[in-house]
C-alpha cells in the first residue's frame, strides 16, 4: 500500500516538474486561490475561443495535482469548462486519498476553474 502511495506521489512530483511555471508577475494575490494550505496561483487566458490555464504552487505535490487538472481542462471552450464533469478526480483516487485539507484545496481549484469557464462564457457566449 505504501509503495502504491509513493508511486502516486512520485508521479505527481514528476508532473509538477514538467508544468511550466506561471510568470512571476502573475504570482500575486489576484491569482491566489483561497482554501489551499499551500499557495496556489491560477490564471486563465482566452485564446482562439479556448481557455488556456497556467498554474503554479509553492508545494510540489499540490503543483502535481494542478498539473493533472490543467491537462484535462486546457484548450476547451468556456462552455465546456463551465459544464465540465471532473469525475476523474474520484477515479484516480485523489479526492478520497489526499488528506482532507488537501482535497479542500483541490475543490477550490476546481471551483476556480469552473468560475473562469462561467465568466468567459458570459463574456463571449460560447
Amino acid at each position: 500500500m505504501f509503495d502504491e502511495w509513493m508511486a502516486k506521489y512520485e508521479y505527481l512530483i514528476e508532473l509538477a516538474k514538467d508544468l511550466p511555471p506561471i510568470q512571476p508577475e502573475y504570482k500575486t494575490n489576484e491569482y491566489l486561490i483561497q482554501g489551499c494550505q499551500s499557495r496556489v496561483w491560477l490564471r486563465a487566458d482566452y485564446q482562439n475561443e479556448r481557455i488556456v490555464f497556467t498554474a503554479d504552487s509553492d508545494a510540489i505535490i499540490t503543483k502535481g495535482i494542478i498539473a493533472l487538472l490543467v491537462r484535462v481542462v486546457n484548450n476547451r471552450t468556456p462552455h465546456e469548462i463551465a459544464n465540465i464533469n471532473l469525475y476523474f478526480i474520484d477515479k484516480i483516487g485523489l479526492s478520497q486519498n489526499l488528506s482532507p485539507t488537501r482535497s479542500n484545496g483541490l475543490l477550490s481549484m476546481v471551483k476556480q476553474i469552473k468560475l473562469y469557464g462561467i465568466a468567459y462564457y458570459a463574456k463571449f457566449k460560447q
Binding site: 500500500m1 505504501f2 502511495w5 509513493m6 506521489y9 512520485e10 512530483i13 494550505q37 499551500s38 499557495r39 509553492d58 508545494a59 510540489i60 505535490i61 499540490t62 489526499l98 488528506s99 488537501r102
Partner: protein
C-alpha cells in the same frame, strides 16, 4: 522548574504508553508516531473511562438540584476546581474560572478587564511570538476602545527580553499579555522576569500557559501572574474545558463576561445582582463532566510527576535536536536557549506541506503551516514550518523514525 533537567528520568515509558489507547493505533498500516502534541495530546484511559463512568453514575446538573445526583455532580465539579488550584499553586479556588479553553479565557479578560480598565489612548502589549488566540482578542478590544496594541519583538534567536518590555511600557500601558512557551518555536519566555518588570511599573500581566502547563511545574503564586490561561486538551485532558486563573482583586473589579444562569445572585427586570467568584464568570451550565475529566488528567500528571515529565521531555528534545540536525537539509527555525515541547523546521527548500503529507503516509503525525502564529512567521520571513511536538509518551525511537522519514523525503526530491 528547570532544575528537573539534570535529573535522570526514571520513567517507564512503555507502561505509560500502555495507558493511552490511541497510541496503539495504526495509520496506513503503520504504527502511529504521534508528534502533534502541541495541537492536542492523547488521553489516558483513566480520563476516557472516568468521563464515561461519570455519565453513567453521577450525571446531573450542578449547583441546582436538591437531589443526591446533583449534589454528587456539584461536588465533583468543585473538587476538580480544587485540584486545578493546587496544581497551579493558586491561593483560592474561587480564582479558578472554568472556561472552554485558553482562547475563551483570554477573550474573557480582554472583554471584562478591558471594559473596566482600558480606555481611549491606552495601550496593551503582546509579543510577536503569540498564538492568534493571544492577538485577536486584544485587537478587538483595542478597536472597541480606540486603544493601541503594542508588540514586543523577539531577537535573532527568537527570544524575548524583559529589558525590551521595560522600554515598551508607558504610563498608558494597561496590560501585558504574553505566552510562556511559543507554540510555533518552543521558545520558553522568561515570564517571571517579564512580570517583575511590568509590576515595577504597576502593570498587570496575563500569561498564556497553553504550551507550558503540560511541560513543567507552574506556580502562579511564585510567578505572581495576574491572569493565566490554559486548555485541558493539551495536557492529557478532555476538549472543551480550560481555565482562567485570575487574582481575586482583579476578578472582583471586573464586570461579568456573559450573562445567564448561575452567574447571578438575584434577577428582577429592573436590576440583576451578580453572584460571587468564581460563578460570576461562569454563566450557564458549566462543562462539569469535562472539568471532572480535567481533574483526572491532573491526577494522571501527578501520578507520573510533572518534574519527571519535564526531565523526560528535555532528554527527548536534546535527542531530537541532535538526531535531526544530522539529517541533510534539516533547518531548525528559531534558536532559543530554552525550548520546551516543540521544534519547528523546514527541509531545505521542500515545502512544509509536502513534507507533512509524506510524513503522514509514513505514519508520522506532525503539523505543518503557520500554526496560528502568522505574525511570528512574518517577522521570521518564512511561509510556514513543519512542527514536531512531544509529550511524556514519546520515545527516542519515534524521533529516529522521524529522522529516517526525513532522509527518505530528501531522496524523493
Amino acid at each position: 522548574m528547570m532544575n528537573a533537567v539534570s535529573m535522570q528520568t526514571a520513567l517507564d515509558i512503555k507502561s505509560i504508553r500502555a495507558m493511552f489507547p490511541a497510541l496503539s493505533l495504526s495509520v496506513y498500516n503503520k504504527p502511529l508516531v504521534y508528534l502533534d502534541n502541541s495541537a492536542t495530546t492523547h488521553k489516558p484511559a483513566l480520563v476516557i473511562d472516568g468521563i464515561s463512568d461519570f455519565y453513567r453514575t453521577r450525571n446531573s446538573n450542578i449547583h441546582r438540584g436538591v437531589h443526591y445526583l446533583s449534589e454528587a455532580a456539584t461536588l465533583a465539579y468543585e473538587e476538580a476546581r480544587n485540584k486545578v488550584k493546587d496544581f497551579i499553586g493558586a491561593q483560592h479556588s474561587h480564582e479558578i474560572i472554568f472556561t472552554r479553553g485558553t482562547t475563551e479565557s483570554i477573550n474573557l479578560v480582554a472583554f471584562s478587564y478591558g471594559e473596566k480598565f482600558v480606555h481611549e489612548g491606552d495601550e496593551i502589549i503582546i509579543s510577536a511570538l503569540e498564538h492568534h488566540s493571544n492577538i485577536v482578542p486584544w485587537q478587538m478590544l483595542c478597536e472597541r476602545k480606540n486603544a493601541k496594541l503594542k508588540v514586543l519583538y523577539f531577537d535573532q534567536n527568537t527570544e524575548l527580553h524583559p529589558e525590551k518590555l521595560d522600554e515598551l511600557i508607558t504610563p498608558r500601558t494597561k496590560l501585558v499579555s504574553i505566552t510562556w512557551v511559543s507554540n510555533l518555536l518552543g521558545t520558553v519566555v522568561p515570564v517571571k522576569e517579564m512580570i517583575e518588570v511590568a509590576h515595577a511599573k504597576g502593570v498587570p500581566v496575563m500569561i498564556d500557559a497553553a504550551q507550558a502547563i503540560q511541560h513543567f511545574s507552574i506556580d502562579v503564586s511564585w510567578l505572581d501572574a495576574d491572569f493565566l490561561a490554559f486548555s485541558a486538551h493539551k495536557a492529557y485532558g478532555p476538549t472543551g474545558i480550560g481555565v482562567l486563573y485570575g487574582k481575586t482583586e482583579w476578578l472582583n473589579q471586573m464586570p461579568p463576561y456573559q450573562g445567564g444562569g448561575d452567574m447571578i445572585e438575584t434577577v428582577s427586570f429592573e436590576k440583576t445582582t451578580y453572584n460571587q467568584l468564581p460563578f460570576k464568570f461562569e454563566a450557564g451550565t458549566g462543562n462539569f463532566v469535562d472539568a471532572y475529566g480535567m481533574g483526572l488528567a491532573i491526577d494522571f500528571i501527578r501520578s507520573i510527576g510533572i518534574e519527571n515529565i519535564a526531565a523526560h521531555e528535555h532528554q527527548l528534545m536534546e535527542y531530537a535536536i541532535e538526531t535531526l540536525s544530522r539529517v541533510e537539509n534539516f533547518m531548525m527555525v528559531g534558536n532559543p536557549a530554552n525550548r520546551a515541547g516543540a521544534i519547528s523546521f523546514n527541509l531545505g527548500s521542500i515545502h512544509h506541506y509536502d513534507v507533512g503529507m509524506l510524513l503522514d503516509k509514513m505514519g508520522i503525525a506532525v503539523r505543518t503551516g503557520t500554526h496560528c502564529a502568522q505574525p511570528a512567521l512574518e517577522v521570521l520571513d518564512i511561509q510556514g514550518t513543519v512542527r514536531a511536538s512531544f509529550a511524556v509518551y514519546n520515545t527516542t525511537q519515534e524521533i529516529d523514525a522521524l529522522a529516517d522519514a526525513l532522509r527518505f523525503i530528501n531522496n524523493i526530491f
